[in-house]
Amino acid sequence: MPIKFPFSRRAAPSDAWTKCPSCDAQVFNKQLERSQRLCPSCGHHFRMSIGERIDLLIDPGTFEERDAGLESVDRLGFHDDRPYADRLEASQLKTGLRDAVVWGVGDIEGRRVAIGIFDFRFMGGSMGSVVGEKLARCFETALVERIPAIVVSASGGARMQEGTLSLMQLAKTTAPLVRLDVAGVPFISVLTDPTTGGVLASFASLGDVVLAEPKALIGFAGARVASGTVGEEMPEGFQSAEFLLAHGFVDAVVPRQELRGTLARLLRLLPVPAVDDGAADDDDRSWGPLGALSGFAERLGGAVSETIGIDVEAPSANGSGPEERT
C-alpha cells in the first residue's frame, strides 16, 4: 500500500533568489522550481531535493516509499564539536527527511522500478547504516520483484560519525549487485552533483549503465584531500562528469531535461529477462550428446550458397538437431 510522503518536497530555501555558481546570475527560487532547477541563463544544474527528483523522474502518483521508518542510531557515541545525534536532528529539521536516502517503487513511463534517491542536504548525503540498509533493501526488492534498480546518488561519501560501520555499508550495498547479475536484473546508476568517496567507491560505480548530470563533481577523493595529500595540481576539469566520461567510467552525460526520457529508453532496451522455471530450466541445462550436433557443425564449416539469410537449416527442422522447446 502507498505510504504518505513523510518528507518535504521542496529543496529551495525560503530566500527569494539564489546566485548561480556558474554564471553569477541571480535566479528566483520560484523560477528554479519551475525549471527543474536549471539556471535559466546558463543551464547550470542546481542540486535537487528528493521530492523534486521524484517529480522529475517518476510517473505521477506511482511512487510508493518503502522503509520510511528507518532511523540512524549513534552506535559510537560520536562527538566532535557537536554530538552526532544533534547533527542528525538538525538535518532532519532542515530537510524534513529521516536520513539522506529515500527509496521506493514507482513507474517510469509505465515501467516499474525500485529507486533510491539521495538528498545531499542531509549531512552531505553521507552513507551511514540507514542509507546502506535502504539501498540494500532497494536492490533486494529489485531482485525479488524482478524490476530494474535505479539509484540517484549525491553524496560526500561514508558517514564518518558511524566509524567503520559506515565503511561496511560499501560492502552492504555492493553485495546485492552480485545477485542482480546472476538474476539478470539491470541496475542503472545516476551520478549527480556531487558523488564522491565511499558512495562512488561502491554501488554507484557499478551500474550496468552509469549516467551523470552535466558538470557534476564526481570523484574518489575530495579534491582538497587529494591535492593536500599528493601536493600536485589537479588537472582542469578533474573529477567532473565529463572527465569520467572521457576516462571510461560513465556511459553518458545526460542533461536533466533528457534524464527521464533516457532512463525510460534504457528500461525498454535492457529489459529484465523472464525467469526460467522448473522443468524448462532443467531441460536446458542438460548438454545433449554432441554427436547429434556435429552434423550441424560440419555444415557450418562447409560451403553454403550465396543468398540473403543463411541457408544452414535450423536444427529443429532436422532429426539430429536439438529438441524443440515450448
Partner: protein
C-alpha cells in the same frame, strides 16, 4: 563470380583474379561506404550508445550500445571509421586501442547478463599497432575478447561490413553466424603489409590481395563466412538505405534461426565452429579429422556437466525460433 581460386594451380593468382580482388578491396575501403553508425539508425530503433571500458578510457574507434530490432533488444558493437579527415582522426581510422576492445567486452557481458543477442559490425584495417596500444596490452585485449565471445551465453551474429582486418576484426568477430557484405574483405594481414613482408616490395599489394583470398566469396568457400549479403547497384556506397535493408534482413534471419538453440547447444555449436576452422592432413590415416576427435569431443561434453556450466536460455524467449515465422527469409 570470378573470385574463386579453385582454378589456381600454384602459379600465383591470375591477372583476372588480381583485378577482381583489388576491385573488392577498393570497394571495401570506399570513402562513401556505409559505416556502423550510418547503418545502425537505418536498421534499428532506439540505439543508445554506451561509453567506456571502466578502466582507462573510451575508444571512439569502437562504438556500441543496445537497440531494438522489431521491438526486441539486441546489443550492437562495431568498429567505426570516420567519414572525413577530421572524423577519421578522432576515430583513429577505425583502428581500436585496447580500451576499445575492453569496452566491447563490457557491453558483451551486459548483453550476457540480461540475455540479449549480440550483433557486431566489422570494419577496420586492424588493431592499432602504436606504442601506447602495446603498453596497455593490445594483444591481451584482443585475446580476452576472443575468449569472452567463445563463451558468451547469448547468440552472436557478426557482419563484415567493410574491411575485416586481422586480429582487430576477429576480436569482435567470433560468432554463431558470420555474414559478409558482397564487397567486404577479410584478411589475416593487409595486402600492403603482405606485399612488404612476403614479396619484400611495396608494389605487390594487388597480387597479395588475390593470393590472400580476401574477398567475401573466398571467405565463404573457406568456411570463415557463412553467407554473403548482396549489395545494391554499384556497391553499398551507392545506396546506404538498400544496404541497411539487406543487412537487417540477414541479421533477422540469422537470429531467428539461432533462437531455436538452447544455451548449451549454442555454445557447443559455436565451439565446434571455431574448433573446426583450418585445413590439415593427418598422415597415416589421411583423414582431415583425427579418428579419436569425435570421441574426445564427446568426453569434453560430459566433462562440461561440471559445476558452473552456463545454462541460461533467456534470449530464446526474446527471440522466437525460426519455426514461429514464415520461411520466406530462409534459403534452401
Amino acid at each position: 563470380m570470378t573470385d574463386s581460386v579453385t582454378a589456381r594451380t600454384g602459379e600465383g593468382p591470375s591477372a583476372e583474379a588480381i583485378e577482381s580482388a583489388w576491385r573488392r578491396v577498393q570497394l571495401a575501403r570506399h570513402p562513401q561506404r556505409p559505416r556502423t553508425l550510418d547503418l545502425v539508425p537505418l536498421m534499428f530503433e532506439g540505439f543508445t550508445e554506451l561509453h567506456g571500458d571502466r578502466a582507462f578510457g573510451d575508444d571512439p574507434a569502437i562504438v556500441g550500445g543496445p537497440a531494438l530490432l522489431e521491438g526486441r533488444p539486441i546489443m550492437i558493437i562495431g568498429h567505426q571509421k570516420g567519414t572525413d579527415t577530421e572524423s577519421n582522426i578522432s576515430r583513429n581510422f577505425g583502428s581500436p586501442h585496447p580500451e576499445g576492445f575492453r569496452k566491447a567486452q563490457r557491453l558483451m557481458r551486459l548483453a550476457d547478463k540480461i540475455g540479449i543477442p549480440v550483433v557486431t559490425f566489422l570494419d577496420t584495417a586492424g588493431a592499432f599497432p602504436g606504442p601506447a596500444a602495446e603498453e596497455r596490452g593490445q594483444a591481451e585485449a584482443i585475446a580476452a575478447s576472443i575468449k569472452l565471445m567463445t563463451g558468451l551465453q547469448v547468440p552472436i551474429v557478426v557482419v563484415v561490413l567493410g574491411e575485416g582486418g586481422s586480429g582487430g576484426a576477429l576480436a569482435i568477430g567470433v560468432g554463431d553466424r558470420v555474414l559478409a557484405l558482397e564487397n567486404s574483405v577479410y584478411s589475416v594481414i593487409s595486402p600492403e603489409g603482405a606485399s612488404s613482408i612476403l614479396w619484400r616490395s611495396r608494389d605487390e599489394a594487388r597480387t597479395a590481395a588475390a593470393a590472400l583470398r580476401m574477398t567475401a566469396t573466398d571467405q565463404l568457400e573457406l568456411g570463415v563466412v557463412d553467407a554473403i549479403i548482396p549489395e545494391p547497384g554499384e556497391g553499398a556506397h551507392s545506396d546506404h538505405a538498400a544496404t541497411a535493408r539487406a543487412v537487417r534482413a540477414a541479421i533477422l534471419a540469422a537470429l531467428r534461426e539461432l533462437a531455436a538453440y538452447g544455451t548449451a547447444e549454442l555454445l557447443e555449436t559455436r565451439y565446434a565452429r571455431a574448433r573446426g576452422m583450418g585445413a590439415y592432413l593427418e598422415t597415416g590415416t589421411g583423414s582431415r579429422r583425427p579418428p579419436e576427435a569425435s570421441s574426445l569431443r564427446r568426453r569434453i561434453g560430459r566433462i562440461l556437466h561440471l559445476p558452473g556450466v552456463p545454462r541460461r536460455p533467456r534470449w530464446s524467449e526474446i527471440w522466437p525460433s525460426a519455426d514461429d515465422d514464415a520461411d520466406t527469409e530462409r534459403g534452401a
